[in-house]
Symmetry: none
Subunit: 236 residues, 2 copies
DNA sequence: GAGTGGTCTAGACCACCAT
DNA sequence: TGGTGGTCTAGACCACTCG
């Protein structure tokens, strides 16, 4: 058994793109040229090219030709990532300052978000996170005590996601985010070292484990000049 | 000019799914039966079905048949939606005020985003969009003239996405969004009926057709008290 | 073995773009 | 006008599933 021809062609072109033989926005050989090169019917070439277009490697212009897509845009998108991973991938040095670490009793609003009962206990952590010593966000986390026995304050000096996945061995599945704009109040302005009423991104976040249980509810204030959200959406 | 046959077939089947004529996991007619029904070549049927598979409406089992996919998952999340669809789904009355409608020459920055060449022409549209007579966003659109011949200002008084999909018969695939926070400048404040320096959400957006070509670059300013972004992200 | 989808052919005509 | 991609035909053989 051997690979179908259209997959062979697909692979050849994909590799040429990934290896930089074809550069973004460069014209690739026409369907007719490829047909001669591979000695197949034109429909077979189109099958391969159509798949690559659907996968975001190419785009077509009727009457002009087929071009290599810009892959830069598609990176780093739609992944649940801890702040540590994210900022480190930009090559910045991270510091976390833990302002508060205490146990609280959950009210009705919080209990709904974390699938708890009012009266249950949760950890409350407040910290400021900086990249290259510039404050980027003020973060307020609520974590069900039942999921985080023996939680130590020290965890929040480094990557919480690393702790969750590699120490507790939880499997993180997905998160829901709501993103709004706000004017900084005095507390937020002070911790982010900006002026009162400067605009900030306000995000609320609930993250879920792969068994469907929410394990954190977070409210974060991001400095507008240090952070932005990127997302890819599909029509369907 | 009329719709290509494969699109007609696609639409028929998609509607049958959305109207519940075909239920999830139900077997649909075989390619041969559809070929006879529409009196076309089998490749044309396959073209239509392959598109529907890629769009998540169907799935195929070699040797068994083609089935309706389960659409429950992923609804309302991560969908590219025009503002009109979105606000109408909340039951609000929409009005659009078109401030500008003109042709401009694209500079280098814009040409990169729309895969054009500096010097090419683009439409520039500026409009304020309101729900129940409260301004929600100020929008600045750039559209390649080559994709929108005979574009009329009137289109922007109602749903642009409706025009794209049902008049021009383009297939919208996905979009890339960047979301930031800003303080409103005088122009933005005036159009959104807020105070200068009030925080707003600033979004840039590039939307792509299913052949991979970008067809719009948009910059929007959203009133912070009228709008927020919701997204679901996955780890992996 | 009969029916399904998967791959492929060798053409054709059309719509669009550049020159 | 010539070259590009877009649509379409009328077949063919293969791989898979099921009775």
């Amino acid at each position: 058994m051997q690979k179908p021809m259209y997959q062979v062609i697909e692979n050849d072109i994909k590799e040429a793109i990934l290896n930089g033989v074809y550069q973004p926005h460069q014209l690739i050989p026409s369907e007719n040229e490829l047909r001669e090169k591979y000695n197949v019917a034109r429909m077979t070439i189109r099958h391969a090219l159509t798949n690559l277009v659907n996968d975001g490697y190419l785009y077509r212009h009727q009457g002009k030709g087929t071009y290599v897509a810009d892959l830069k845009l598609e990176k780093n998108i739609l992944r649940v990532r801890g702040f540590t991973e994210e900022i480190q991938s930009l090559g910045k040095k991270i510091t976390n300052k833990v302002l508060r670490f205490e146990e609280v009793t959950v009210d009705e609003k919080l209990s709904e978000k974390l699938f708890l009962t009012p009266g249950d206990k949760a950890f409350y952590i407040e910290r400021v996170r900086s990249g290259n010593n510039i404050p980027v966000l003020l973060e307020k986390l609520y974590l069900p005590v039942r999921l985080f026995k023996n939680l130590k304050k020290e965890v929040f000096h480094s990557s919480f996601y690393d702790y969750i996945e590699n120490v507790l061995n939880y499997r993180v599945s997905h998160c829901m985010q709501i993103i709004e704009a706000r004017n900084a109040n005095a507390q937020v302005a002070k911790h982010l070292e900006i002026n009162k009423n400067d605009s900030v991104l306000f995000m609320t976040l609930i993250t879920y484990l792969s068994d469907g249980r929410p394990f954190e509810y977070v409210e974060s204030y991001y400095r507008a000049d240090q952070y932005r959200f990127i997302q890819k959406s599909f029509r369907g």
